[in-house]
């Protein structure tokens, strides 16, 4: 079997490094695209250390040129099957490479304090409807009060997510986000950033972290563009 780490450009150098099981990495080319792979005898047991190993190989390749990382655990029967896959999807993968060329992915997470901890007070709902609802809170039962609190908190999380995402999105070629209002993560965002704008983006994330006291904003990366790679093949 061959384990595939990433799709890259055919003129990229074969890196002088090893992959799983200590097997040397090699390039398999087909037309306008190439794959970085290594032979695999056994099975890659998924776990924290093997995930990092996959990630490390892909990160080492990042400096060589445009690159599309494979999902963890991608294997094919042999090199022939890999060549066939590349030829089959050449156009789609070449488009994918053009899309991420000269850019990296940065991840941003905004975390709030858990509800029951100090400093996690729920601010009064801003709009009139919620304000009126809060006014009746005194007569409402404990269950209703709880639900109103939850609603207020969840609305505030959505506001915070927009507050964090909007200025970051302006610096990005493309972005993807997930707004999760339960329980602590407000925003999970992925941003495709031109290499020359990485520092600017980081500075903006730090500024938001300082400005928005209700949430901790953590920026990670640069990552290979996992969130901007072509997903399931159309079949």
């Amino acid at each position: 079997m061959v384990y595939v780490y990433a799709i890259t450009e055919p003129d990229a150098e074969a890196p002088d490094a090893t992959g799983f099981e200590g097997a040397p990495l090699r390039m398999v080319r087909a037309g306008a695209v190439a794959a970085i792979a290594s032979d695999l005898d056994g099975r890659v047991e998924p776990g924290e250390s093997t995930l990092w190993e996959h990630e490390q190989v892909v990160e080492e390749l990042m400096s060589a040129g445009a690159l599309l990382p494979m999902r963890f655990g991608s294997t094919l029967a042999d090199e022939v099957a890999l060549e066939a896959m590349l030829a089959d999807r050449e156009e789609e993968l070449a488009r994918g490479l053009a899309r991420v060329r000269g850019a990296v992915e940065l991840g941003v997470r905004a975390l709030r304090e858990p509800e029951d901890e100090p400093g996690a007070e729920i601010p009064a709902p801003a709009d009139a409807e919620a304000g009126a609802a809060a006014g009746t809170e005194a007569e409402a039962g404990a269950g209703t009060t709880y639900l109103l609190r939850r609603l207020g908190r969840s609305r505030r999380s959505e506001e915070l997510a927009d507050e964090v995402h909007a200025p970051l999105e302006l610096l990005a070629r493309e972005s993807r986000r997930r707004v999760v209002t339960v329980p602590r993560i407000v925003l999970t965002g992925a941003y495709l950033i031109d290499e020359r704008r990485v520092e600017e983006f980081r500075a903006m994330a730090e500024e938001l972290d300082e400005r928005i006291a209700e949430a901790a904003i953590l920026c990670t990366g640069p990552w290979p563009p996992y969130s901007f790679a072509p997903g399931e093949p159309v079949s």
Partner: protein, 135 residues
Amino acid sequence: MTRSRAMARDPRDESRRADERAQRDANLARARERREVDHERARDRRDAAIERSRRNRAEASAGRRSAAERARREREVSLLEMIDRLLAGGVVIHGDITLAVADVDLLYVGLRAIIASVDTVERDLVGPLDRPRNR
């Protein structure tokens, strides 16, 4: 006999020696007092130093704790970010994908234990990010 004359006791010498002895005793007494005072001061200084060092240690350890706390959170978030990307992102191929869907779910559960303190993960981990919002 120069030598025997020199050895002879001169009463003036006797009296000078007595003065010197008295002087020496007085000096010794003063020195002893000074040493005692010095000793007390030294004890105070030592107590103060111990107190200062205890305080410094406490502050340093509190600082380390909060720095360690932040480092731990960053490590966990990095791991979370990596899991999200490697298991839900990237190019997907048809073929002998090592991980069946059930394996991926199990892996999420297993790794969630590692990052238990970002207590979150519930729905956030599973599934790819929303559709791109291109400008």
